[in-house]
Structure formats: structure tokens, C-alpha cells
């Protein structure tokens, strides 16, 4: 065993027991420093012959490299162990539950309104809004419901004064829009919003509810156009396989007037308890705008004609989801609202 081996042996023995940065630094100084053991080996050079010197020098350098690498490797191992100890101390129970992501929800009535808005925006309609406190003129008179008309009993509306009331439908927004364009341009709008009728609240009646009305006025708007539009709406709301059926009805502001039934989404028209064994469910009222309404809104009925329809949002939600009581919509129970989140 020569001096090289002895030195190496001693180095590794110390390296093995070195556990701190400080010990390693000292070890490095003791062997690889200016006055370290390996540097000391170079002192022997001057006693060697010319021919021996390069070989010896190479040997010292090789040793230096070897020790230096061993030192670094040991240092890295130490650091790794330290980090692992630290991470071990950070151990958690991964089976404990995570923080809840608490999302809220859009009210089901808003969701339905928005989906209908989206359908009609896609068909080129604009969404028009208007005041909920309306004049008798806009709510009734301009819609062909003059005073003393049987369909406008004082009993049925919330009046604020003899000429002002809570709107009973969103039709006044249609009147306002038609007047805005001055009877000169086509109109293609839907009007969503809250409306009020003087009904006692029970499972199927509400003194306040949401309505969406639609109106198209142009030179050639026909009842066939109305039919196609309503079919599209019924299919959007109740499924692509649905068909519709139009039955004669009466509204003062449209003529012809129709009630619109959709083929039952439950039994597909075969007859079940939901459709009361008729195969159809009534969903909305519609018709061709009455000449008097067009005239009062500034249109010449010889030049322009149009269709209008009105749909109750609560009714759609109740049919679509089988909700049994209209009052649920106004209770705002979070458990109820959450059910319709998509």
C-alpha cells in the first residue's frame, strides 16, 4: 500500500462519517485545499526524475479528481436525504375530503328565458324590454282592448291609478317597439319579463309570473311563418321529435288566434296522464296581429302584417320538469334551484 492508497483510504473513512455541510467543507479543505493532503503529495515531485514526474503528476491529478467527485456525490446524497426527511415531515392524509367547490345556480326561470332568447337571437330576433308599470293605453287600449272590453275586468289587474297598472303581459313592449320604428320598418323581437295578474296564489296560479312574447311584422309575414316559428320553439324546448297542433282561440290583439299544443313528450302522442290522454299539451297562445293593433301602432295593415305569440315561462318549466306547484319558483330553495344546473 503506497501513500496514495493510504490517503485514499483515510479520505473515504472520513467521508463516510461526514453528515453536515461543515464536516464536508473541512474534509475538502483537509484533502483538496491549498495545504491539503493531496496538495502535499506534490511536494514529492521535486525529488523525482524528469521521466517520473509526468506520470506522478497525472496520478496526483487523477486522485484529486476522484476524491472531489466522491465528495460531491456524498454531498448530493446528503442533500437528498435531508429533503426527503423534510417531505416526510409534510406527510398528509390524502383520504381527507377536499375543499368543496361551491357553485351557485341560475334560477330555472332565467335559464329557460335565456335558452329561448338564444334560439330567437339565432333566428335574427332582438330582445326588447320595457317597464313593468304601464299605462292602460299601452297595456290594453293599443292592443284592441278598449275600456269596457269583457276581457279586461278591473278585477284581473293590479291598478295603481285608473290609468296605470302593473302590466298583465309583455305586449306593451311590442307596442312600444312598433311605435319606435314608426310603422315604417319590419320588427322581429321577443319580449321577456315579469307580468302580473290579480290571481290568488295556489299550485297553478301566481299573481306574478314570467312571460315571453314574440312579434314579427313585415310585408308578408304569414300564419305559415308563425307555424314554423312555433314548431322550432317547441322542438327546442321539448325535443326535436315534437310536433305542434294549432286550435282556434280568441285574443283581442290577434286574428286569427290560436292555442298551440305540442305533442306529448312523455307518450309521444299515444296518450298518458301528463297529456290527459289527448296526446297533446297546450303550451302557448298566438295569432296574426289584429289590424286595429297594427293601425294603432302606426302601421298600414294593407302594407304590413305580422304574427305574435306569448308563452308562460313557469308553465314551460312545470311541464318540462314535472314541477307540481308554481309557488316553488318563488320560494328560491337552493336545493330546488340546484337541480336545474347544467
Amino acid at each position: 500500500m503506497d501513500a496514495f492508497d493510504t490517503l485514499k483510504h483515510a479520505f473515504h473513512a472520513r467521508l463516510k462519517t461526514s453528515q453536515t455541510d461543515q464536516e464536508l467543507a473541512q474534509l475538502k479543505a483537509d484533502y483538496l485545499g491549498k495545504k491539503g493532503e493531496v496538495t502535499q503529495l506534490m511536494q514529492v515531485m521535486k525529488d523525482l526524475s524528469e521521466s517520473e514526474r509526468p506520470v506522478y503528476g497525472q496520478r496526483v491529478n487523477a486522485l484529486k479528481k476522484e476524491l472531489s467527485e466522491a465528495l460531491n456525490a456524498h454531498k448530493k446524497a446528503l442533500e437528498k436525504a435531508l429533503l426527503e426527511a423534510q417531505l416526510a415531515a409534510e406527510k398528509i392524509d390524502v383520504t381527507l375530503p377536499g375543499d368543496r367547490v361551491q357553485l351557485g345556480a341560475r334560477h330555472i326561470l332565467s335559464s329557460i328565458v335565456e335558452s329561448i332568447e338564444d334560439l330567437f337571437v339565432g333566428l335574427g330576433y332582438q330582445v326588447k324590454e320595457g317597464p313593468e308599470i304601464e299605462s292602460d293605453e299601452f297595456n290594453f287600449e293599443k292592443l284592441n282592448l278598449p275600456k269596457h272590453h269583457p276581457a279586461r275586468d278591473m278585477q284581473d289587474s293590479f291598478y295603481i291609478d285608473p290609468n296605470t297598472l302593473l302590466r298583465t303581459h309583455t305586449s306593451p313592449v311590442q307596442v312600444r317597439t312598433m311605435l319606435e320604428v314608426g310603422g315604417q320598418k319590419p320588427v322581429k323581437i321577443i319580449c321577456p319579463g315579469k307580468v302580473y295578474r290579480r290571481d290568488d296564489d295556489d299550485a297553478t296560479h301566481s299573481h306574478q309570473f314570467m312571460q315571453i312574447e314574440g312579434l314579427v311584422v313585415d310585408h308578408h309575414t304569414s300564419m305559415a311563418d308563425l307555424k314554423g316559428t312555433l314548431l322550432k320553439m317547441a322542438q327546442t324546448m321539448f325535443g326535436a321529435d315534437r310536433t305542434i297542433r294549432l286550435r282556434p282561440s280568441y285574443f283581442p290583439f290577434t286574428e286569427p288566434s290560436v292555442e298551440v299544443d305540442v305533442s306529448c313528450y312523455n307518450c309521444d302522442g299515444a296518450g298518458c296522464s301528463i297529456c290527459k290522454h289527448t296526446g297533446y299539451i297546450e303550451i302557448l297562445g298566438a295569432g296574426m296581429v289584429h289590424d286595429n293593433v297594427l293601425k294603432m301602432s302606426g302601421y298600414d295593415p294593407k302594407e304590413y302584417q305580422g304574427f305574435a305569440f306569448g308563452i308562460g315561462v313557469e308553465r314551460i318549466a312545470m311541464l318540462k320538469y314535472g314541477i307540481e306547484d308554481i309557488r316553488h319558483f318563488y320560494t328560491n330553495d337552493m336545493r330546488f334551484l340546484r337541480m336545474f344546473n347544467q
Binding site: L103, Y125, Q126, F158, S222, M223, A224, E259, D333, L337
Partner: protein, 776 residues
Amino acid sequence: MNVSMKWLSDYIQSHIDPNDLAEKISLHAQEVADVRPLYAAEGLVLGRVESTEAIPDSKNKRCVVTVNGTQRTIVCGAPNVAPGQDVIVADIGATLPGDVTIQKATINGIESAGMIVSLSELGIDKKYHQESGIHVVNDPHHDASFGLDDTVVEIELTPNRMDLMSMLGVAYEVSAIYEVPLTLPEVTVKEVAKVNPYTITSDTPKCMAYYGRVIENVTVKDSPEWLKNRLIAAGIRPINTIVDVTNYIMIDLGQPLHAFDSDTIGTQAIRVKTAETDTTFQTLDGQTRALKSGDILITDGKRPIALGGVMGGLDTEVTQSTTTIFLESAIFEDRQIGQTSRRLDLRSEASLRYERGIAHDRAILALNKAVTMIQALSGGEILKGIAEHVQTPPTPWTVSLQTSRVNQLLGTTLSDAEIKALLERLQLTVKPTKETLEVTIPPRRLDLHTDQDLIEEVGRLYGYNHLDIRLPSTQTQGYLTDHQKRRRAIKSHLEGLGFFESITYSLTHPDLERGFVSREPTAVLRPLSTDQQTLKQTVVPGLLEVLSYHHARQMDDAKIYELRTLYWEEEIETLGIAMSGTSTHSSWKPPVPVDFYSIKGLVQHVLAMFNVSAEFVASRLEAMHPHQTAEIRIAGQVCGFVGKVHPETASQYDLKDIYVAELYITRLAAMSDRHITYTPVTKMQSVRRDLALLVDKTIPAGVVLSTIKSSNVPYLVDAEIFDVYTGSPLLDSEKSLAIRVAFNDANQTFKTEDIDALMDQLLTHLKNEHAVKLRT
């Protein structure tokens, strides 16, 4: 309108299935509410009681009954069963209402083959009869119209189709829908030589026509079975032959009639006039009615005998002992009948028909048919002639219809001939001219006055289900406005942050709003309840009710919002937010309760969506915490408030620690600047410096921050509070604010001396404004 199929067959002889009729009526005319058998029973037969025999120790009787020529024994418990009666027998196998099936039974040891039934057992409501025992049939030989197997189709009438308030009107419609012949009624009156002595005059234009006939020596009695059955089918209670005939004719032809006991009329000169205010009249129900000017009165020239079109008088009522009838068939003004009947709460089948409008050309037909029927049922002689007063004789009118307009409105391609044929099915006279179809409308169709009215007739008879399916060709751009899009965005953001949208009633009780607003509320005139008398001026109480509902159900972690209109002088769109519970959501980690700053953060987020900068000014609202409430102001205008609900207010809802905010979206939208400007992202690093200030405790941090932001110190781009401290070793009057400020310039990096100079400038400004000290 209840349509008896048997009755309908008087006019339409073609066989029509009631269910098919219901479907066709609903597709072409009016909504059908119900199709039902008149007697909800099957297996009924007529029988004659031959003999009855008491059964010992029982109230039952052993009856021998002949059914279809064969005798059988039936045990019957009704006290009124007697030999010689014609009765209705529920045969073996018959079904009665309430899932009753008749089976052969042994009663009191006697085998009983069937059951003799009462009207109640047949499902006839007590309002149509007063019988307690079995039903005794009074005319078993009129079997053709007996009615045991009649079916009723109940049609719901819309106000425009009052022509369908008569069987004849329905028959016109059925004839048009099915394209089958209609047999119109024909009447031959057998008069005696004695002349009707009555004269009629009228002082009022509200009586368009008045006709009267007299029939002497009648015997008032019980109506035959077929007549009673038809009235019951129509929903009318049978009384006696005279009353029943007037009701029958009203249903049959739509013309209300009134029968007077002629002997009780003081004169034979009927005079129609309008009432004077503050007079009274005793109607036949025994009530004394206060009259008003305008009510139509039928008088005998001296005293009133009937309230025209509404109700007859008690004095002149037909009784069992009446022998001479004066029968009125008149046409009164619709509006006046409506007013009088509504005011006196006397709405009847007759007043309803007058009010909605009756056919003006059936008054004489109705009168003649009625006296003929009375004669047939009650005997008597019809005096010669009709007493009459005619103000406005019924005349048809003409409507011009253009084929092009029909097709344009319906989206059809019908020819002139097709349209003509459709209208002729309704028995309208159609005369084609060069450009139009001239359609003559008879007075029975008061709803047809314009071409649009006729287009509806064409459309519904043609069938709406035969119309094409198209979409409007109108080329328009569909879009949501910026505001509509932003409204949806606000909702989505809040929902993403855990909030549930609420929709509440707009009507409320003003007391609930006290302390949140101090505006004069708008009240509705006739509220349905005191809780719903005024329109909302604040969103918060409604949200508190929702939170209270959840609290009562152990859901205290409730976060809700509502975007709704408030009704001030103008309508203002408002966002209300309410929250309680915790802002973290873990089942096992310590909860962090929500506080003022949780909700203020939300408010600031919404404000940022409008790109407006707001001031939060400590303020007071009675219903809110006096020291944790801020008013939100933008450019000096109040745009809402945010804070903690006053514990006393909260406790009224059984709540505590509730944070709410109200933001006036209409105002925010008006001030919103959504203009987007691009500036390149700076490549230079910002320099940050911390500043520890001692300031007077009463100076709000926000004020210090805005002083910094408005200091005009160059390159100052941001200032943020990162610590607030009060307490030892500071003086009671002091607080410490730690503020981090940032400097940036796109064109340079700063040297330390530059920043020192800028900080000195800032500090000097702060010292001048708020007498701050640097904390050392």
C-alpha cells in the same frame, strides 16, 4: 255551452260520434272541455212496477217489475215505490257511477234481478232535482228522445263566439265542419180567433225589439222526461212546463224569454223605459233591488213588472195556479244588461246572452216555438197575433274579402272558389265580384265585421294544421345588447362564486323596507293581501326572507342574489346580494366566516365589470349596522350600499351576521366606460417600496389611499394596504397603515436615489394632507 247530442240531432240528422265531434270542434272552432254521458251509467232499462209487497221485518218491498215484456222480481228499499210507476231499472251487469256493478243478489231471502234507481244513483247532481226516492218516469212513451243514452259535449266559448250559445248556433257550426245538411226549425202556430190584447211601447233605444204573445187556459205542471233531460244536459234545473220552455228556447235558439202571469199585469199596455235613480224593484227571488238611471224596466204603464233582460218581478211571476201567460221575447242593449247584471250581482244564462250579444233575428221564431211548446205541454189557446215594438229591425251586412289578403295572411294558395266554398259551409252568402268576394253576414254572426274576421273563418275551416310550415323571410340581425350580455356575465360570475339566483315577488309590505329606503312607495289599488300592497323599493328584505327560509332548514351557509327592477320614481334595475356563513367550504378545516370585506370584494368585482371606480363612504341606514355600512358613490352619485345588516333587523328574520349589498345597475350602466385602450405591457420592472405610516385613527384607509393615488407623484402606478395595526405601543388616537407603493416607467430603470426622491415627495404630500408620521 253543454251540447246534448240528442238535442243536436233535431238539427243535424247525420250520425255524428260525440268524441269525433269533440275533436273536430276543438280543431276547427272552440276548445272542448269534456265529453260525458248524461247519465254516467250503462245497462239502464225502463220498467213498470206491477205490484209491491211489504217484506216482514224489513223496510224493503218485493216488487214485480215488467221489463221488455217480461216480469221479474226486484227488492227495493225506496219508500216511494208503488204499483203503476214507470221506473228506471239498472239491469244485471249494469254499471253505475262510483264503480258500482249490479249483480244478481239475494236480499231478505228474495232473489232480486236488478235495481230500481234514483237520479242521484245515476250521477245527476242534487242541484237538478229534489227527489229523495227512486225516479218515476212521467212519459215513458216518448222514448225516442228519452235521454237515457244521451251524451254531453261541453264546449268552452271564447267571447267572440257567442253565436255558439245556442243549439241552433252549434248546429250551424257542426254543419259547416262536417259539411252535412242543417235542418232549420219551422214552426206553425195554431192561433185562436181571440186577438192578443197587448200593446207595446218603448221610451228607450236600449230596447231594440219587444214581442209578446198570450196563451190562455194553460195548466202549469211537471215537464216531461225528455225535456227535463235536455235541460239537465244543458246545466239547467227543471222547474215546471212554463219556466222550462222559456229556458229550453233560450238554449235552443239563444233568445232569452220571460213569462209573466198575465192576470197579475195591471194593464195590457206594456211600456219599456229606463229606471230613475233611487227607485227600487222587487225581483222574483224576493229581493228588493236598488235601481239606477239607465236600467231597463218593463212596466205595465203604471208599475215595473220586470228588470229587462235581467230578472222578472215577484208580483208577476208564473206560479202553479197561473192560467194565462204573457210571453216576452225581446232584444235589449248588450252593454246596459252587462252593467245592470254586474252591479246587482244577478248574472244569469239570460243576462249573459244579452251581454255578449244575441242573434237579432230569432226573437219571433223563439216566441212562436215557445208558445207552440207550451201549448203542447200545458194545453191552452194561443191568442191571435204578436204584440210588438221594433226600434231597430235586424239587417244583414256585407264584408268585402280579397283572396290575395286571405292567402297573404294565412300563407295559403286558396282560389276564389275554394274560399267561397269554405264560407258557404257557414251558410254565408258569397258573391264574387271582379276584385273581391262580397260576403253577406246574417245577424246571427255578430262577430263577423271585417275581412280579418272572415279570414279567421276561412283559416279555421280550412284547418290550421293544413297550413305550410315556414320561417319569416324578414332579414334582420339578432343580437343581445351589450347590457343584456353584461347582465348574463354578472349572473355567471356570481354563480361561479357560489351565489344562487333568487326571483321574488315584486309586491311587498312597506314596513319590511323601513330602514333600508326612505322613499314613498307605490301602492296598488286593491291588493290581494296586506303583504303584497306596495312595489319593492329595495331588494334586501326579499333576500333576507330567502335566507330566513334557509336558516329555518339548517342551511346557514347561504349565498344568494337577485337582479330585479325596483320601483322608484322610475324603474331601476338593481342587483342585490346577501350572504351568511363562511367564505371557505371544507367539512373539516376551520371555517373562515364571511365579513364586510367578503361582500365588499364582490361589489368591487361587479363595479370592475362596469369599469367604474367607486368611493365607499361610511354611512348609516337604520336597518344596517351603524359602523359596518358604506354607501357606494360614483362621481358623487349614490350607486348602492354594502354592509352588515343591523342585528335587530336580522333578528326579525331569525338571522344573524348577514352581509348584504345593493347596486343600482341602471346607474352603473349609465356611467360605465367600456372603451378599451391598448398600452404595451411594460418591459421594465416596477420598483416597490413599503411605507409604514402613523395616522389619526379616524382617517379611513381609503382616504389615505386616494390621497396617494391623487398625489401626482410621477411614475407612481400602484398603492396597496398590506397591514393595519392599532394598539400598544401606539397611542389610542393612532393607527398604523402599512402601504406598498410601486413605481414604473416604460422607458427607464430607476436608481435608488431617484426612488428616494419620489418617496420624499409622496411623504411630504401625505404630511400636508393628513399630518402622517413615518413609523420607525
